[in-house]
């Protein structure tokens, strides 16, 4: 059997490269959108195909880490992502050009420039004090899905073909007996985290019908049929019976119809309740086993007669049975259970006492408490992120609604107690932060710097990294203006910077309330592309000088000042993922071995990245055009906002975000060994529209 892999012309299996053997170009459809799938996809995206890795190493060896060669390397790394295989998203869509930290768990890049939630909720960087986040960082790579059969330990009568997806039974024995039974299991155990697991076996040739389909643990002796021996479960085609960990001669359970050639038998394990059902030709046959508690289970199939031949579908192909619908139903059941769960008593009582004098008990009080809590969360979120107008409108809304509500319920005496809470963050500081954010989003970095300096003088001292980020963005904005100007010139006519500036002013005037002074950039006279370019170059040189050899340590209580990097050269050992400025982390498993490095923002690398813009005559059409995208502003604005909040002694994230993060982590923990939590995916089910 050991020679089999060679015979089949397979490359030796690569350990610890989940799904990267190319067997899945796409996850099984029913797992799409589960938390497990997302984690798996991330892990995959950040752990590229080993062959590509080798290729990159080769490239790195061939090319010196100079600026000019760097861009070409980047092109390669981008094209690597375009290779077929497990590519979840195109890094060209990436929106932020600087990733404040690496090692976050929830990784796919934000593609939508949604105004409401720029930040990734799972981003471990957001609150470093959270122990949950720390746990997230350390969470190991999720176990992979079974993707093919594994001949290991199976009797030699079973032969594999078709990329290890088909098994043929070959034997001399003309009259098969139980002694001829042979089973094979899949290459990986089923990860209970997926909540529901399903695979289908097509009977290519049924012969005597002595095929058994099921699953087994690691201890199952493979010279038996699944179900007829310890640690195994099976549904047998010859009689349609099911067997659970039985020795031969034990009574079987009549279960479903018999099956043979051309039938497609499916097997589903539901980790929500440990139940198993089979399907035949796309039709559910009902529960076969209950209370399966083992956590290491492999898909398994057993045969007995010469010529029997099966083909498995572990999800690489669409299934005959509509397992997607079943998944949705299971999910609905879970959510139904969650929503029927009573609110914790202390929450209800707290809210009730804190609120008005109304003493309505029961679910009414509980509902009221819950809605008050939700209102508070929303209001604080809006405030934290500087959506002043929205926060104000929301508060008004809630006020009028709750007063109407309480009037209706308790008479006029009741006041909208909760409404007052919403004013907390609606203060000068919030308004200022909003102005700063607006400036960044406008691309007016100078103005943002100025405002920040003015209102929050501590912020750049405490967090030099954010200043660096802003300055980098300023450079990008200059390059952007230059590129746009050149484009305009090419179209004919001189770029009317004046007009552009004026319109910019106009826009600014709409929201400027405190500082009516015009920002430097807008007061400058008409500039052509060349002038802009020289300005950008000058600024870039300054930037490089200022940050030469500087690196930023992980945000901590440590010294706020920039730390000179001891080995700036080491920074060139970039992972392809980060070099493409995808906000991808390193492989989570590697974080455990490499300490805070992961959260270090490498200034040199960031500079290299943005300077690559200069390598192209027309950066807008270049492979690094994404750096110029306006979406990048949002990320900077987010980070600046967070930095200001921290400098003001506040948590950098709103309680709502914190709540979501914590819940995400809890669910992740809960789902590790199966169970209902697997059916919950906070991000997808609640945060994506």
């Amino acid at each position: 059997m050991a020679s089999f892999a060679a015979k089949a012309g397979k490359k030796p299996a690569v350990p610890a490269a989940p799904l990267s053997d190319g067997r899945f170009t796409k996850l099984p459809s029913y797992l799409e959108g589960t938390a497990y799938a997302e984690i798996l996809e991330n892990a995959l995206a950040s752990a590229p195909d080993p062959s590509t890795q080798q290729q990159q190493q080769l490239q790195q060896q061939q090319q010196s880490p100079s600026d000019s060669s760097f861009s070409s390397f980047k092109r390669d790394s981008i094209s690597q992502f375009k290779q077929p295989g497990y590519v979840i998203q195109d890094p060209l869509d990436s929106t932020s050009f600087i990733v404040p930290s690496v090692g976050s768990v929830d990784v796919p890049a934000e593609t939508a420039a949604s105004v409401s939630l720029h930040r990734r909720f799972g981003d471990a960087d957001v609150d470093r004090s959270s122990s949950f986040s720390a746990r997230l960082l350390e969470s190991p790579a999720p176990p992979p899905l079974p993707s093919c059969w594994s001949p290991e330990g199976s009797p030699s009568s079973l032969e594999l073909s078709n990329d290890k997806l088909e098994i043929i039974y070959k034997s001399e024995s003309s009259k098969p007996t139980d002694k001829d039974a042979a089973s094979m299991r899949a290459n990986h155990p089923i990860p209970p985290q997926c909540g529901l697991y399903y695979f289908e076996v097509e009977i290519v040739c049924g012969k005597e019908g002595s095929i058994g389909i099921g699953f087994c643990g690691p201890k199952m002796p493979l010279a038996k049929m699944p179900g007829l021996v310890q640690d195994s479960w099976g549904y047998h085609g010859v009689d349609g019976n099911t067997f659970a960990c039985q020795a031969n001669g034990m009574p079987s359970y009549p279960y479903g119809p018999e099956f043979t050639t051309n039938d497609v038998i499916g097997c589903a394990i539901n980790f929500r309740n440990g139940s198993v059902f089979y399907t035949k030709n796309g039709i559910s046959l009902g529960i076969a086993f209950n209370d399966i508690k083992e956590s290491r289970l492999y898909p398994a199939v057993g045969m007995r007669s010469h010529g029997e031949h099966i083909r498995v579908n572990f999800g690489q192909q669409p299934f005959v049975f509509d397992i997607d619908a079943y998944m949705i139903e299971e999910k609905a059941k879970t959510y139904k259970q969650i929503s029927s769960y009573p609110l914790p008593a202390e929450l209800v009582s707290n809210a009730t006492t804190a609120a008005s004098s109304s003493s309505a008990g029961g679910s009414g009080a509980s509902d009221a408490a819950l809605s008050r809590l939700i209102h508070k969360l929303i209001a604080s979120y809006l405030g934290y992120n500087g959506y002043v107008e929205s926060a104000r409108a929301f508060a008004d809304d809630v006020k009028s609604e709750s007063s109407a509500f309480s009037t209706a319920l308790y008479g006029r005496s009741a006041t909208a107690g909760g409404a007052a809470d919403f004013q907390i963050l609606e203060d000068v500081e919030t308004v200022n932060r909003q102005q700063i954010r607006t400036a960044v989003l406008e691309g007016n970095i100078d103005r943002a710097l100025k405002l920040a300096e003015h209102f929050f003088p501590k912020v750049f001292k405490e967090d030099p990294k954010i200043l660096f980020q802003l300055r980098c963005r300023k450079f990008v904005e200059l390059m952007r203006a230059c590129a746009l100007a050149r484009e305009k010139e090419k179209e004919g006519g001189v770029f009317d910077e004046q007009a552009a500036a004026q319109s910019e002013d106009q826009e600014m005037a709409d929201f400027t309330t405190i500082d009516s002074e015009k920002s430097p950039s807008s007061t400058t006279a008409v500039k052509n592309a060349d002038e802009l370019l020289s300005e950008a170059l000058k600024y870039g040189q300054k930037l490089r000088e200022d940050y030469k050899g500087v690196t930023f340590p992980a945000k901590s209580t440590a010294a706020p000042a920039p730390v000179l990097s001891t080995s700036s050269a080491s920074s060139s050992s970039l992972s392809p993922a980060s070099s493409s400025s995808t906000p991808s982390p390193q492989h989570p498993s590697s974080t455990t071995s490499s300490p805070p490095v992961s959260s270090v923002l490498d200034a040199q690398k960031a500079l290299t990245d943005i300077f690559s813009l200069m390598a192209y005559p027309d950066p807008l059409q270049s492979p690094v055009a994404h750096l110029l995208s306006e979406h990048g502003r949002a990320a900077v604005a987010e980070d600046l906002n967070a930095a200001i909040l921290v400098s003001e002694g506040k948590s950098s994230v709103a309680p709502l975000e914190k709540l979501i993060k914590h819940t995400t982590v809890l669910i992740h923990e809960l789902a590790e060994h199966g169970g209902q939590a697997s059916f919950v995916n906070i991000r997808r089910d609640f945060l994506s529209s």
Binding site: S29, E32, G33, G256, P257, K280, N281, G282, I283, S284, L285, V320, F321, D322, D324, A325, M327, I328
Partner: protein, 896 residues
């Protein structure tokens, strides 16, 4: 109880403003108040409302639109308030007024009200006549609404447009029930509009994706999804089989989209897709025990395989809640259609337990008492759907039938059969009869479960529904029949039946009261009643068919209840399905050895009716009537003589001659390309006959009549040979593509050339089975015959045989036999050898090389097949074979 103010005078006010206010007040006072509604209806408010609705287009002022809307809403509220009140509305005037409001230019609110009202009224009383005749504007109007509101949905008012289209589709669904006898109630044009609409909807970008399981609901609006499902459902009902087949074959992308819908998130859309796909791949279900539908269309098994899981999921989901009480009846009806196709599809349904599941659902809604009042509309639909499903399965395999019995379905059937007859339970009764019919195909069940079930009373009662009618009708028919050439099924029967039906309906409706009679007694209602009652009788007759077979223990109890006149009455019916089933039952009654019953049946039927039926416009009736003759004269020279005497040899052979030459008889039939019916093809030197399938069946039946005559007395045999035109056709048909035809013709030749050498003892040790009752070889009849020996001297006798052989040779039998020597069917080849031997020995062409042929010939003769006909429904079930009356047997009989 009555409002303080009588609003009627105000409604009739000439001042439009007052009128409008009054209507609004009226609306508020009647909605939800049945007494108010009755009170106003009794005072003639209906006329006022209709007058407002049908106001001339010319009188357009600020009020006219609002007045119409209010009137429409009030009318609608009347329609929704149950059968008593909606019966007071039902009438051609109401309907036609409402139909006239269906214009794209009408205000949407009015359209919605009118559409809802029409749907409610037609749901309560399905239209039976052709709607295109009664309301010629209906179909074009509906088509116009569809296209107008689909295009306007894109622009503004999306939601209301969708709702209107949904309503139109809902109405279409009601108007074209899948099992309706009149698929033609609506025009094809409408089906095309609807098809177009569904096509546009499905091909809308992202439509399919937005319906899928994984998409977040809401991507496609609720109104739009409702519209889609109702449009697909309506299309599934509206499509003619031809259109369906055309679409299925010509638009593969459309099928692909439909298949994708089978996994839509919303169950209603999945169900609609199931229904439409089912329509596209099967012939429509006849829900009425109508056995006329042709052979199933070539089925697309792959499609069906996709269909079954989707349907099963709908059924399982229904079962998981409240044990299936809330199951959509359409799920079961669709299953019935799918299962009716039999084959692998039915196997797959059965193996995953459909029978138990269906029984589980219908057990809840089955009537527990004799009273029919407890059965609601939905329960009734669920029950009939489930029973249809079981009967559809039972048609196919013995193991299915056994599973049906094991699932205890018979209890439900018996409960239904023993429920009092009422219009509300008609459909269920029909369905129950269908189950009985299916189950009675099993000889085993016929002798066991069915005997114990106590169904006889119920079945006979259904047929005896018109017992009183039958008496008079039978008398008049006999009278009519005695005068040759008169119409045998006259008008009197349906007249009397109408009266009884009307009385029944009125008693069922009960509360409608005297005043309402005028409305109810419209022509339409009578027609509908007549039709439904006929359907019940037809279904009951189908169930009776197998119960009256000779070996059925139920035969005697049923006959004892005086069923024979009822069956003969059915054979005179103008309603083709009933006539067909009745003749079928009669055919079964004259099958077998029970000469006494044969005599009774023949007496009741009479030769004039028999001849009439042999020339029935409906091919299948002809076939059954010919089979009746075949069974009648089998093994009985007496009956051959009776046939000759009563029909006349000349007329009989003219009839048989015509049947053997179906082409010429049907050449004036414009519906088909007649040249194809009866074709001699030169195929590699062989001349092959092909005829259309239903002609072939008639040819077979006719040929076996000749086989029996040829097995009769010498003078019977001579009669055949004297009709050279018939013999020529028989010889020509020896080249027919169907082996049954070739075999029958060979038998004729064999019987005509058989020479009895030494007189032998009674024949009948052997018998040959050509077919069996499915897997069950029950009921084979024993041989044995009587007759008189040939009166001629042996020499003379042989000489006559020789002459017959000479005629056959002259007419070219040798060439055909030579050809058949290479036939692909073994049986044909063997019979051919024997025939060649017999002819050669008679004509002196006998040469060595035939070896023991003589002996073989004798052996062959011993097992020669008379083959009388006992078939059930469309599917041949039993073909009993026994010793035909050959000279061997004759010699053994004591001569008289």
């Amino acid at each position: 109880m009555i409002s303080e103010i009588d609003l009627l005078p105000l409604v009739r006010s000439p001042d439009r403003g007052t009128q409008l206010r009054a209507l609004k007040a009226l609306k508020n006072s009647v909605i939800g108040h049945t007494e108010q509604k009755e009170w106003y209806l009794e005072r003639g408010v209906l006329d006022d409302l209709l007058a407002i609705l049908s106001a001339e287009d010319g009188v357009k002022d600020q009020y006219s639109e609002e007045l119409m809307i209010e009137a429409g809403i009030v009318l609608g509220s009347f329609a929704y308030s149950g059968p008593d009140i909606s019966a007071m509305l039902y009438g051609p005037e109401t309907i036609s007024t409402l139909v006239l409001t269906l214009k794209p230019t009408s205000p949407p609110k009015l359209l919605l009200a009118s559409l809802r009202t029409l749907t409610t009224l037609w749901t309560a009383q399905p239209p039976t006549q052709s709607l295109s005749t009664a309301y010629p504007t209906l179909a074009p109007s509906l088509a116009a609404l569809l296209s107008h509101f689909y295009s306007s949905a894109a622009s503004e008012k999306g939601a209301i447009s969708y709702t209107i289209i949904t309503q139109v589709c809902g109405l279409l669904f009601v108007l074209a029930p899948a099992h309706s006898t009149g698929q033609s109630v609506l025009s094809d044009h409408l089906a095309i509009s609807l098809c177009d609409l569904v096509d546009k909807l499905l091909t809308k970008p992202n439509m399919i994706a937005s319906l899928s399981v994984s998409s977040n609901a809401g991507a496609t609006g609720l109104a739009e999804r409702k519209m889609l499902s109702s449009a697909i459902l309506a299309l599934s009902h509206l499509m003619s089989p031809q259109a369906a087949r055309h679409l299925a074959s010509s638009a593969p992308y459309f099928m692909d989209l439909l298949v994708k819908l089978l996994r839509a998130q919303e169950p209603t859309i999945r169900l609609a897709a199931c229904a439409l796909i089912t329509t596209l791949y099967t012939t429509p279900l006849s829900g009425s025990g109508d056995v006329i539908t042709g052979k199933p269309a070539a089925q697309n098994t792959e499609l069906a395989m996709l269909l079954v899981p989707a349907l099963m999921k709908l059924l399982d989901d229904a079962l998981s809640v409240d044990d299936g009480r809330g199951c959509d009846p359409l799920v079961l009806h669709t299953f019935a259609v799918v299962c009716r196709e039999g084959g692998e599809v039915a196997d797959r349904c059965v193996e995953v337990g459909i029978i138990k599941k269906v029984v589980r659902i219908i057990a809840h809604v089955a009537p527990s008492t004799h009273s029919a009042t407890q059965i609601g509309k939905t329960e009734s639909k669920l029950l009939s759907g489930g029973l249809f499903c079981l009967s559809a399965l039972g048609l196919h395999k013995e193991e299915y039938r056994k599973a049906i019995i094991d699932a205890n379905a018979l209890t439900i059937v018996v409960a239904v059969m023993n429920t009092e007859n009422a219009p509300a339970v008609r459909e269920i009764k029909i369905a129950a009869c269908n189950v009985l019919r299916s189950l009675s195909r099993s000889v085993l069940l016929l002798r066991t479960s069915l005997v114990e079930s106590g169904i006889v009373g119920g079945v006979v009662e259904l047929l005896g529904d018109v017992a009183v009618v039958q008496e008079s009708e039978s008398a008049s028919a006999t009278a009519a029949g005695s005068a040759k050439g008169e119409v045998l099924y006259d008008e009197s029967m349906s007249e009397v039946e109408k009266t009884s039906a009307r009385q029944k309906y009125l008693s069922a409706v009960g509360g409608a009261g005297q005043e309402a009679d005028g409305v109810i007694m419209e022509e339409d209602d009578d027609e509908s009643e007549d039709g439904e009652s006929l359907e019940v009788r037809t279904a009951a007759m189908a169930a009776v068919c197998n119960l009256v077979l000779e070996f059925s223990p139920l035969r005697k109890p049923i006959l004892d209840q005086g069923i024979l006149p009822l069956i003969v009455a059915g054979a005179r019916s103008r309603y083709t399905p009933l006539r067909l089933n009745s003749v079928w039952a009669l055919k079964h009654m004259v099958y077998g050895d029970d000469m006494q019953t044969r005599g009774l049946v023949l007496e009741e039927v009479g030769f004039p009716l028999l001849m009439k039926l042999c020339n029935d416009p409906e091919m299948q009736v002809q076939e059954q009537a010919l089979d009746f003759i075949r069974n009648l004269i089998a093994r009985s020279d007496d009956y051959i003589d009776k046939l000759f005497a009563n029909v006349g040899v000349h007329d009989l052979f003219e009839l048989l001659d015509g049947k053997l030459a179906m082409r010429s008889r049907q050449s004036d039939d414009s519906e088909s390309d007649e040249d194809e019916d009866f074709v001699e093809e030169d195929e590699g030197g062989k001349v092959i006959f092909t005829t259309k399938p239903y002609y072939t069946e008639i040819i077979i039946a006719t040929a076996y009549i000749l086989v029996h005559i040829a097995a009769g007395y010498e003078h019977h045999r001579q009669t055949i040979i004297q009709h050279e035109s018939v013999v020529k056709k028989v010889i020509a048909l020896m080249a027919h593509e169907r082996e049954e035809v070739r075999l029958a013709c060979l038998w004729i030749v064999l019987n005509l050339t058989w020479v009895e050498e030494p007189p032998r003892g009674a024949a009948g040790e052997d018998l040959m089975m050509e077919g069996v009752v499915d897997d069950d070889a029950e009921g084979s009849s024993s041989a044995g015959a009587g007759g008189e020996s040939a009166s001629q001297s042996p020499g003379n006798y042989v000489e006559v045989c020789r002459k017959r052989a000479a005629v056959l040779v002259r007419l070219g039998v040798r060439a055909k036999l030579a050809m058949l020597k290479q036939d692909r069917v073994l049986d044909v080849r063997e019979k051919t050898k024997t025939a060649i031997y017999q002819i050669d020995s008679l004509t002196g062409a006998f040469t060595d090389g035939y070896g023991d042929r003589r002996e073989e010939s004798q052996q062959a003769q011993q097992v020669q097949q008379g083959g009388d006909a006992m078939e059930v429904d469309n599917v041949p079930v039993v073909r009993h074979a026994y010793m035909y009356m050959n000279p061997t047997a004759v010699a053994s009989e004591p001569s008289s």
